[in-house]
Amino acid sequence: MDGLKQRITAAIHNQPQPTVTVLSSLLAVEDAIGYIPKDAVEEVADLTGTTINDVWAVASFYPNFRFDPPCEHQLELCWGPSCHLMGAMAVIAAALDQVGVEGEGDTSDGKLSLRYNTCLGACAQAPVISADHNLMGRQSPEKVRAAVTALLASPSPHGQGGN
């Protein structure tokens, strides 16, 4: 996949942060491609003069990184205390049921990657979810079901077939 290699290189070299580090490079790849391919680990190691092990050590520490292509859509559900007190557990239960999964992870049809988030930063609008990086507050079990349906029916933000 030469296309992927080029995208990795472009992402790493065009990163917005002037101080280039292992972490800044990994974040740039994640933003551009949606995950950290093996090639990216090698390229980041080369660029920063570290080893593959060093890069893996960083990548595996931060749970926002994933190592296989994401699904077409991303759904994040806040389980932080403000959201918890405003009914996040019922919202999460409804979302999981609507998606047809038991917990965090990807659906088998490659449509949706689902994650819990510790705080989406809009606690005054709890419970909060994020659908393809759009924040949606004041959720209820009914609203989140509708949000999931709308999300799955919308075009994938990164085009066809994942990443």
């Binding site: 007190l85 999460i92 819990y116 005054a124 709890a126």
Partner: protein, 568 residues
């Protein structure tokens, strides 16, 4: 351009915006506005204006404070007062344009209040709203009022005056004296005296020294750092440059968590604009002071906000705390002397320099000078972000400013200062907003997050949720925290399942005391707080779970979700 020319240009632009030909429509588009649906409102406003064939300037602004009423749309006709509309939907946006913008008739029934000199029939002054009535805005002075993407709007409202003034009229020593006199203390959690901290860095003669601005803000329930950064990024940038000047630092970083696009983009944009206008870089405003600033991101990690872990993250590593000593003021980022401050701390600095340390010290309560910037969440009538003088008590905050609990229910507890701050029972509601008063009560005022919980809340379930967070976020470097958190969570989950055993509370206590004594950073040292404070105020409720095997509210019987994957 000299600063005088910059200020004149900014003034000219501001006048044409507020008193020119066309109306100015401001849409609250901070994280709170976005979560309430501001994007759809923005689209509706634009298409409605187009349909009516009227011109208006639309700006996406930050957080005005009353997040409960978002999306907020703020319409100002040339030279007139601003009308703030609440809970705007695409449909009411059309009504607002058709009536207010086109015909000049404000829609009273959709308005939250007006801001300005001339009153408007049927609409109350926003300053009379409970959330606004007690406010003293210093760090938040521009939030929601100006377009955070336009440096000229910041300058037109007095921005970068303090920087210009200090570069031309003040020595670094004089600036340090003002900050010392202000009594300013860190708003990142520990409430350490900012002037003292700056003195440490100023004392080092190394050529490369860093000032770091901490906007990690991983505390659930806290959004004021992100709120300030995305609502008024230049007050933070100016504060950082001033901190740099006072301490003789050469470089700075604004540290934000990846994924919060609003604050990240606003911060990056502000830095870029400040460079363009010569407010950053070589010879700032023609002086002999030079300072470079950039935005650095961290991945998801709560402990990244701890000052030494933060430096590891900027260096691109796993954000795990360092051993101290050496302290950051001697050996910090990339081995150089470093000062770390919270966003709020730095956001106060321009006003402190402009108005003098004594002015700031005259606001507040005891040794807690200035204001408290609070994030109100939970089942309150008015949730959002407010800036009030230190010294108000929790009753005033919860019942006056936040309008009490929704649905007339009773308050059960508040959770302050982030998950590590623990909880406070209702007997403590006369506590004043004051670092010492909170500390004496065993709580933390910290960064200003106040989460309220009502009578339906089960304390055991809430404690479990808080510890689930702390366990998930333990960085894993030191084992008292890593093992301790897991152990506490295991016991709490057992108690929640009504399978607790006699002696479980004692067991948690011994685990907790070991964490306190043996952990490397505050995460583990304070990690027992949620449990110990909960047991202190709600002992009988724990007993009901453990000894009688029942959950009085029934909350423990429901399903629970928390991430299975912890750090690897």
């Amino acid at each position: 351009m000299s600063f005088v020319e910059l200020a004149a240009e900014a003034d000219r632009r501001w006048k044409s915006l507020t008193e020119g030909e066309t109306p100015w429509i401001r849409v609250g588009a901070a994280l709170c506005g976005k979560a309430a649906g501001s994007d759809a409102v923005l689209v509706a406003l634009e298409s409605s204006l187009q349909r009516h064939g009227v011109a208006a300037q639309i700006s996406e602004v930050g957080c005005l404070g009353p997040c409960f009423a978002e999306p907020l749309v703020d319409v100002q006709l040339p030279g007139g007062s601003r009308v703030i509309y609440r809970d705007v939907t695409p449909e009411t946006a059309e009504e607002i344009v058709a009536s207010h913008v086109v015909l000049g008739t404000p829609v009273a029934h959709l308005a939250l209040g007006y801001i300005g000199e001339s009153s408007i029939d049927g609409i109350p002054a926003l300053s009379a709203h409970p959330m606004k009535a007690s406010e003293t805005r210093i760090a938040l002075r521009n939030a929601g009022n100006i377009d955070p993407g336009d440096i000229y709007q910041y300058i037109a409202n007095g921005g970068y005056q303090a920087l210009n003034q200090s570069l031309t009229e003040m020595t670094a020593q004089e600036m340090l004296e003002q900050v010392n006199a202000s009594g300013l203390r860190g708003r990142g959690g520990a409430a350490f005296a900012t002037g003292t901290k700056w003195n440490f860095l100023a004392g080092s003669k190394e050529p490369v020294k860093y000032v770091l601005c901490n906007c990690e803000e991983g505390d659930p329930g806290a959004f004021n750092d992100k709120g300030i950064l995305e609502s008024d990024p230049h007050t933070v940038v100016e504060g950082i440059i001033l901190a740099g000047y006072a301490t003789g630092a050469s470089n700075g970083y604004i540290f934000v968590r990846h994924g919060h696009d609003g604050p990240v983009d606003r911060a990056r944009g502000a830095v870029e604009q400040a460079y363009e206008l010569g407010l950053l870089g070589q010879n700032i405003l023609g002086s002999d002071y030079s300072f470079d600033l950039e935005v650095a991101l961290t991945g998801d990690s709560y402990v990244s906000g701890e000052e030494t872990a933060l430096m590891e993250a900027i260096e691109g590593k796993r954000s795990m705390p360092r051993y101290r000593p050496p302290f950051p003021a001697q050996v910090g980022l990339f081995g150089k002397p470093t000062n770390i401050n919270n966003v709020k701390t730095l956001a106060y600095v321009p006003e402190i320099v402009a108005k003098g340390g004594a002015w700031f010290a005259g606001i507040g309560h005891g040794r807690s000078t200035g204001t408290a910037i609070l994030c109100l969440s939970g089942p309150l009538n008015y949730t959002g972000m407010v800036e009030v003088p230190m010294g108000l008590n929790l009753n005033q905050v919860l019942y006056e400013i936040a309008g009490g609990i929704k649905g007339g229910k009773d308050l059960k507890l508040v959770q302050t200062g982030g998950p590590l701050g623990g909880v406070l029972g209702v007997d403590n509601m006369d506590l004043a907003l004051d670092f010492e008063v909170f500390r004496e009560a065993g709580a933390i005022l910290g960064s200003g997050g106040i989460i309220a919980a009502d009578e339906d809340t089960c304390i055991v379930d809430l404690t479990r949720a808080l510890i689930a967070f702390c366990q998930y976020e333990s960085c894993g470097k030191c084992f008292p925290c890593r093992m301790g958190m897991s152990h506490l969570l295991e016991v709490l989950e057992r108690i929640c399942r009504l399978e607790g055993e006699r002696g479980d509370l004692e067991l948690m206590r011994s685990v907790g005391l070991n964490m306190q004594a043996g952990s490397l950073c505050g995460h583990g040292q304070l990690g027992f707080n949620p449990v110990s404070s909960a047991i202190k105020y709600f002992g009988p409720e724990f007993d009901a779970h453990v000894l009688e095997r029942r959950c009085p509210t029934g909350a423990c019987l429901g399903v629970k979700f928390s991430p299975k994957l912890t750090r690897r």
